[in-house]
Amino acid sequence: MKHRIKRSLMPFGALLPTWLAVVLVYIGAMVWTLRLSFTNSRIFPTDHYVGFAQYEKLLSSSKWMAAAGNLVVFGVLYIAGCLVIGFLLAAALDRQVRFESLFRTIFLYPYAMSFVVTGLIWQWLMNPLLGVQASVQAWGWSGFSFDLLSSRELAIYGVVIAGVWQGAGLVMVMMLAGMRGIDTEQWRAARIDGIPVWRTYVSVVLPQLGPALAAVSTILTMGVIKTYDLVVAITNGGPGTATEVPAKFIMDNLFQRQNLGLATAAAVMLLMSVLIVVAPFRFVSSMRARRKAGVL
């Protein structure tokens, strides 16, 4: 009996440092942030509680609202773009093309780059004086315009393009792995049934990629919420607040505007929005897992 207790203590002991780190660093930081968001801290934390004043200020800030709106636009287009283009790339490589591994490497390569590098590359590409627009105009199509970043309405789409360029490769790799797991006899059966290739991908292959799709969507969603360096490198939030995003708003208020209270309130808002989005999914999947296990 004593021996068994000792045995069960061992893994606990091994996990203790990690647990301490989780509790102190993650949860501790979260609680600390939550506390600061109710104070009027400026450059240093204070103990002067002001209730929800920082939140009221936040919600009446046009910059924050613009950032939140941009996050939604960017998030939807970025995830949809990555999924669609990644799936198309995977389907293209799945057709047993030559030099498949070479193409796979090329398509995945952008994902290996930091957002800052991606941002800089696309800033140059979309620069009207030296990028794509200048090249195409030099070839003779003088009316060609590819100048997203200087327009208030279009700049966010420029950021989306850069983001999709980087993220689609990851989707492709995950989808391709999923496609390779599909029994080849299903393809042969579909050919006998006379189902066109595109239809087989949509109706037979895609529904079987559920787990891969869920995994890659989670990764992309986390990327969206963290989006900071990409925007800083391409547009630095501009023109105006056209590409402002919440993470950048938080960083600006933390380190440049010396407004800890507002920054932490914004961080808490961001966390809440993540919870609101993620919680239902987690709930559904845990319910499904329980039902599978026969508990319900």
Binding site: E185, I192, P196, S203
Partner: protein
């Protein structure tokens, strides 16, 4: 009469590796043809070529009087059943049955009617709204057969459809396939490595080895008069017994001589020629306690009672042979045995392996 399926001078090669060459097959309407062989003999490749799933290097495939060599699989008038069932996993049984028809643009009522009829024939009606994952292996394979059925085609192709099932289900479904063939009267081409399936289902069996059809004949013919040593050894369990020896001319006829065995070949069904030869005889064609006739003598080594019959293994001049007896036997290991050979049912193979 026009053939339902005919394969003419078919050649299939992957790069420079020739898998099949000079394959000719004429399959009559309503015939059940089984392609039988060990794995890698080219039988599945041949089936895929008929289905249009494999590119062929040379030759032609005709189905129902049409040259379909270059036609898409869906335009060949075939239905196919696969070893892994190949059902669409995220669709219900009903959708699996109807998907091809829906894509082909058939009216909804027609699709539903066909799916219901197929489900009824295959006893799938209560399962129509289930997903493949919620079905047993046998049920899944019935759905796969149903998917071929709703296409209302004349030719069914089966690619080892029972290999993924356990022995009991395999037997059940085998009988169902045979019944289905009797009810529908379709032409069926069936690939298997299981000789029991081949023997029980086939009107004719094509035994293949290394991309060559060794013998194409009715099961009884293949069993009793195998065209060569390979076929003789492949069909039958336990396998046919072989004794190597010489055929010598004796008087007006011939005799087979091997060690102490001397067999007069007067009753042999075939044309023996003098020279080296192999004598083959099936375990059930040996008669223990033979009277004065030709017989081989040996010592019992193992007795395998199987219920309905018993297989007795004995050694004769250093070689192991088997003998099948109906019911039980009093023989025990190390008992002496004298087994008579029925020359009218024996087979002789020449030096090149073909039957004499």
């Amino acid at each position: 009469m026009q053939s339902a399926v005919s394969v003419k001078d078919l050649k299939i090669a992957y790069g420079s590796t020739v898998v099949l060459q000079n394959i000719n097959l004429e399959i009559a309407p309503r015939e059940f043809l089984v392609l039988l062989g060990a794995s890698g003999c080219g039988k599945s490749t041949l089936l895929n070529a008929i289905a249009g799933l494999t590119d062929i290097a040379d030759g032609e495939v005709w189905i129902e009087g049409r040259n379909v060599t270059w036609a898409e699989p869906k335009d060949r008038g075939i239905g196919m059943v696969f070893q892994s069932y190949a059902l669409y996993p995220r669709m219900s049984v009903r959708k699996n049955l109807g998907f091809g028809l829906r894509v082909a643009g058939l009216p909804k009522a027609e699709i539903a009617a066909r799916a219901n009829r197929a489900a009824e024939m295959l006893h799938l009606t209560p399962l129509l709204d289930r997903r493949p994952a919620e079905l047993s292996g046998g049920q899944r394979q019935r759905v796969a057969i149903g998917r071929a059925l709703v296409r209302q085609v004349d030719v069914f192709l089966f690619d080892e459809p029972l290999s993924n099932l356990d022995a009991k289900l395999r037997n059940e479904l085998r009988v169902e396939i045979k019944k289905l063939h009797q009810d529908l009267g379709n032409t069926m081409i069936y690939v298997t490595h299981d000789q029991v399936e081949a023997m029980t289902l086939a009107d004719r069996i094509a035994i293949m080895k290394d991309g060559v059809i060794q013998q194409l004949a009715a099961p009884a013919e293949i069993y009793h008069r195998p065209a060569n040593l390979f076929v003789a050894g492949f069909i039958g369990a336990p396998a046919m017994n072989f004794i190597e020896g010489q055929i010598v001319a004796r008087g007006a006829g011939h005799a087979f001589v091997a060690g102490g065995l001397d067999l007069d070949l007067a009753g042999y069904q075939g044309a023996p020629l003098p020279g080296p030869a192999t004598l083959g005889f099936r375990p059930e064609h040996l008669m223990p306690e033979a009277g004065g006739g030709p017989a081989i003598e040996g010592t019992v080594s193992v007795v395998e009672p199987m219920g309905a019959d018993t297989v007795v293994w004995f050694s004769h001049e250093g070689q192991s042979h088997s003998l099948r007896l109906m019911g039980d036997t009093g023989l025990r290991p190390r008992d002496p045995l004298r087994a008579g050979i029925d020359i009218t049912r024996a087979n002789l193979f020449g030096a090149d392996g073909t039957r004499l």
